[in-house]
Symmetry: C2
Subunit: 395 residues, 2 copies
């Protein structure tokens, strides 16, 4: 219980305390409808962390001992009313503020770890072949995306222009994507570097501060034409949106659940003595209409395994590395995390409650992804949202 | 002609003046066997650029007008002997110095633009299918690599560990790569950002300061198992080496040649009213033995087209973006830019002059790539070298 009023149903109860940065470069923690100025708290000697910069980069690099100490101090400040007079000067309403990217993105990696998503895409992109490629159950497939086009929630997304597959023997048409899509994901923010890589799956929390929501916007027509043999490139590189609040892994301890059973058993470096997944359910809305509830807990590969795989070859980690789960799709239609799946490659259009019909995204569409973690005590924590509106292509 | 003594055959005559950064963070220009301290020259009022940092990032961002002015001033300083007394205090021998990465790598993109290389790899990786995928002649295929593992020449390269393809139905073996390879390439260093992308092919020199040599180390066994469907990941992400000297595009004006004829004609955004390629020949040596001379001038796609493609979807460019050509292979065997090609997938081992035999790289092997541009006046400019030694895997 906190002395700060938290509205019923707020994503940001006192048990959450996610980190963000307000426009102008002000690091804050969200609680209820308010934010707490971290630099102010540190200057007043109420917390002990480096929040003097305009991002959370220094705090990210500081590592788990600092993360734990700052979080413990914040919990104390917001729960013990004796701190009220000292804390209140650093509290302000969240309304009227806006957020910027809370950290400098170093490398951005995107995985492909939902078995339902991979089966759906495989069936659509490679008909007549097995839906899962032979490697899929042996390693968490991933690729590098464009770090420079990771943008904060609220940034408009311009419809990309590019080549599509030509008719047999013809020239490829060039123009605005006609199959613009989303990918509903979560992402993990690396704080502590690993200069020689080789991070064990069990060491996730030694390196990762917390989680954000990710919308990996995808132009399916551009992607389908370009992606053999070197993978997605322009079909993804135009924009990737992330939610502004880094929800600490520490806040999500109570949401840990057993991962799905992996069969065949993965190779040794993907083993984890105490593996966990998180009970987090996303909600995807288009123009205010809820269309899907992708369940993160159904992912085949855990974030710990993703991190172990990413670094097994000795690749270094840097502060600010972001790795995303890949599109989250559950087994049922209303759990699919992309429109290419929801509309089954455009063949089964969605009719929204307002009567409008969608296969892929139209100019002016606004897509919002929110998420809730359910803790073992029955309480919930929210992630805020990652939202973006499609604006017309620049011709 | 310069008053600074330049040894016969030096890669760095006064017509080159490549930019680098010495250990400790000292921006310099190389000339002959010496280096000129740029911060010192600027402090003395002899050149007008921002070299106060420990990288070339500020100079990169400054753009073509500054690049041209600084270069003109440097040419004047080293050719007009009246500047000798003023300049000599800022001159020091290159011997005994070492270099660091001269810029902060933002995003790293690698293309696949040699038609001979693509045909060779296609034949080996996808036997029984057409060597070139249907998209190959319509767009310069590329993908994002790991910016955080771009290292400067001279850095040891640890043999990566990873999964290889299993026998039918078995578990994938995990261990040090047994097919460790090089990729001989050149790279282009972006200085001027393009926040909305859409850079025309003809505008290359408005954004790119110059060129480096690139060795995109590749673990072929890891790559072959992982790369379908999302492209190369751990098979490449452990290390990419670059040469320490950025050779200005301006110095390479005289090396411009007509690009190869493209058939079919590419789509409009890949057109360039005045297209050019560069007459640059690489030399690949292993343990001191020259094994290949890859000719950059044979690349199917030009760097201008690569930049236009990279940004056509609206993807932004940032200062420090690095895009590489892809492995450079010419049509003949002694022009191949990788050992998988030189040894034809390991089936035709190379016997080196010292009697040793190689298919892929062994621990302790040192690979050096150098390059020379031939100018229309018959003179040559060098790029220095990108060198690395393989050290044993960490088990």
């Amino acid at each position: 219980v906190t002395w700060i009023p938290v509205p019923e149903g707020s994503p940001f109860p006192a048990t959450n305390l996610p980190y963000g940065v307000l426009a102008g470069g002000v690091p804050v923690v969200a609680i209820g409808d308010q934010v707490l100025d971290l630099c102010g708290l540190a200057s007043a000697g109420l917390i002990d962390g480096d929040f003097s910069g305009t991002t959370l980069d220094a705090f990210l690099a500081a590592g788990p001992a600092t993360w734990a100490a700052v979080r413990a101090a914040l919990v104390d400040l917001v729960t013990d009313e004796s701190h009220r007079a000292a804390v209140e000067p650093h509290l302000q309403p969240r309304a009227g503020t806006s957020n910027v990217l809370p950290f400098t993105v170093a490398d951005y990696v995107d995985f492909y770890s939902s078995i339902d998503h991979a089966k759906n895409l495989g069936a659509m992109f490679r008909p007549g072949q097995p839906a899962l490629t032979p490697n899929w159950k042996h390693l968490p497939i991933g690729y590098h995306g464009r770090a420079g086009t990771v943008v904060v929630s609220g940034t408009d997304v311009r419809r990309p222009v590019g080549q599509r597959a030509p008719a047999e023997g013809g020239r490829p048409p060039v123009g605005p994507s006609v199959r613009l899509d989303i990918e509903a994901e979560v992402g993990f923010v690396v704080g502590v570097p690993a200069p020689s890589g080789r991070v064990p799956a069990s060491a996730l929390a030694d390196h990762v501060l917390g989680m954000v929501l990710v919308n990996d916007w995808s132009a399916r027509d551009i992607q389908a034409w370009e992606y053999v043999p070197l993978g997605p490139f322009l079909g993804k590189s135009f924009a990737t949106s992330v939610s502004p609040w880094i929800v600490p892994l520490e806040a999500l301890r109570g949401a840990r659940i057993d991962p799905v059973v992996q069969d065949p058993e993965p190779v040794d470096y993907l083993h984890d003595g105490d593996p966990w997944q998180l009970d987090v359910t996303l909600e995807v809305s288009i123009n205010g209409h809820l269309v899907s509830r992708p369940p993160f807990g159904t992912m085949y590969w855990t974030p710990g395994q993703q991190l172990a795989h990413l670094t097994v070859n000795g690749a270094s980690l840097r502060t600010g590395d972001l790795f995303a789960s890949g599109t989250i799709s559950g087994p049922s239609r209303d759990q699919r995390g992309s429109f290419i799946e929801l509309s089954w490659n455009g063949t089964e259009p969605l009719t929204l409650p307002d009567g409008s019909v969608r296969t892929f995204l139209e100019d002016g569409d606004t897509v919002s992804i929110t998420a809730w973690a359910t803790l073992r005590d029955g309480s919930r924590l929210g992630f805020g949202e990652v939202v973006g509106t499609i604006v017309a292509a620049e011709i």
